[in-house]
């Protein structure tokens, strides 16, 4: 069962629960985490500035401080349901508690997540299949290259939601009101246009049912920095596990334009 309050959600994850956060604390923004040593933090902020659709920055921690203004009292090392530990571009561990891996020189960057506008989609009558099916959202690496920044380069990652064809314009307009959490889709329709060959085999998260009357709709995704880590192989980074987000105390409406 999901919980409705952000602090309660974080307490559950801190206590060890490991599951995707879609549908948790509806009405509150969720965020991607990418933490890198201070030495790489300029390149990461520059990468985000140059790729604002996949990487809208919501907050940046002080060096070494696992805290954020988005969720006062939260500990970024423990309060997400799952983390990935990266060394030279390889995921060397996926853990529920990153405390043992955290370093005093890490800067934690929190990036907007499209889960944030899912309540608005539901309110507008747009079904969200992965919520219906109790799964993680499917995410795919694309053939679209991000604009490089310093030592960071890599492909854009997208999330996909199958939307009934008559509701696609509604999905565009509703999500477009939330530019800080990826905003309007980056692509509608043929997955091959993004270099995606098989929707049933996502690179991250779970496959979901695509009905015959559905159109696949693709949004830029905050897993993109992880794809840049995989491609660029910096010595060290910590990220959330895809779909296992920070549940913040910020209302989703705060990010509505």
């Amino acid at each position: 069962m999901t919980v409705s309050e952000p602090a309660a959600a974080r307490a559950r994850f801190r206590a060890g629960e490991r599951r995707p956060t879609a549908g948790w604390a509806p009405g509150y923004a969720q965020a991607n985490l990418i933490a890198v040593p201070r030495d790489l933090a300029y390149d990461l902020l520059l990468f985000a500035q140059r790729n604002p659709r996949p990487c809208p920055v919501l907050d940046v921690s002080e060096v070494g401080a696992p805290t954020t203004v988005l969720a006062p009292g939260a500990d970024l090392r423990t309060d997400l349901p799952a983390y990935r530990i990266w060394e030279h571009g390889e995921c060397v561990a996926e853990v529920g508690d990153a405390t043992a891996y955290w370093r005093d020189d890490l800067v934690a960057v929190l990036i907007g997540c499209s889960f944030t506008f899912e309540r608005a989609l539901l309110d507008a009558g747009v079904p969200v299949r992965h919520l219906e099916e109790g799964r993680n959202v499917p995410m795919y690496r694309t053939s679209v290259a991000c604009r490089p920044a310093g030592r960071l380069a890599g492909p854009m990652v997208v999330s996909m939601r199958p939307v009934p064809a008559p509701l696609v314009p509604t999905a565009v307009l509703v999500s477009g009101r939330f530019p800080a959490v990826h905003g309007a889709p980056v692509h509608i329709g043929d997955p091959a246009a993004l270099g995606i060959t098989d929707l049933s085999r996502p690179d991250f998260g779970d496959a979901v049912t695509v009905e015959d009357s559905d159109v696949p709709v693709f949004w830029a995704c905050g897993v993109t920095p992880q794809a840049a880590v995989m491609a660029s192989k910096p010595a060290f980074a910590i990220s959330h596990a895809p779909g296992h987000m920070l549940v913040t105390d910020v209302r989703d409406a705060a990010y509505a334009a």
Copy 2:
């Protein structure tokens, strides 16, 4: 006389013309410049991320490269009408050509400018007094502190446009469509609420006529990083002179939400 094409405007400034750029190349975005050594660039990007209303970043150059994707072919050392050279928080020179001061370790950050939405204000019937009067826009340091970042802290700077009272809502809505160039006003009315004691004595730019039926309307301003330089006293920085902007090749409409 102003000119209508960005490249022609930049050529005039490169050739030595020194005057504020309000009204130049209408329909094209203009940008603030703040260039700092790479060593301070992370703090500057972080300051911008934490203060997005005054510091919306439009582009960041490669280290040492006085170029920008916003105006291919432009030379950031020469193509603005005037520059300020900063040492330890003091403006040590105001020059029309910054080439002699440029350094190989400088990162040039270009920040949105409210001149960009002035054509939209005019199109909506909102008069722009400094354009009517052929002056620079008046700008003021406020009592509103920016959120600090690393070695950078300082007050928010605002630009002010007197708007006839019945047109204030229009001015809000029109500028609000341009969040990347400061967006909606940060304050409407009493200057004292921002710690401004005398509208006729701006900290930057020129005073303009405020009619009895006008309401002073204040927008966050991209001179804010200069105020941070004045307050924080980093060893070196180069900025544009207030109101003497980079005229870019990007259409103003590109920044309309």
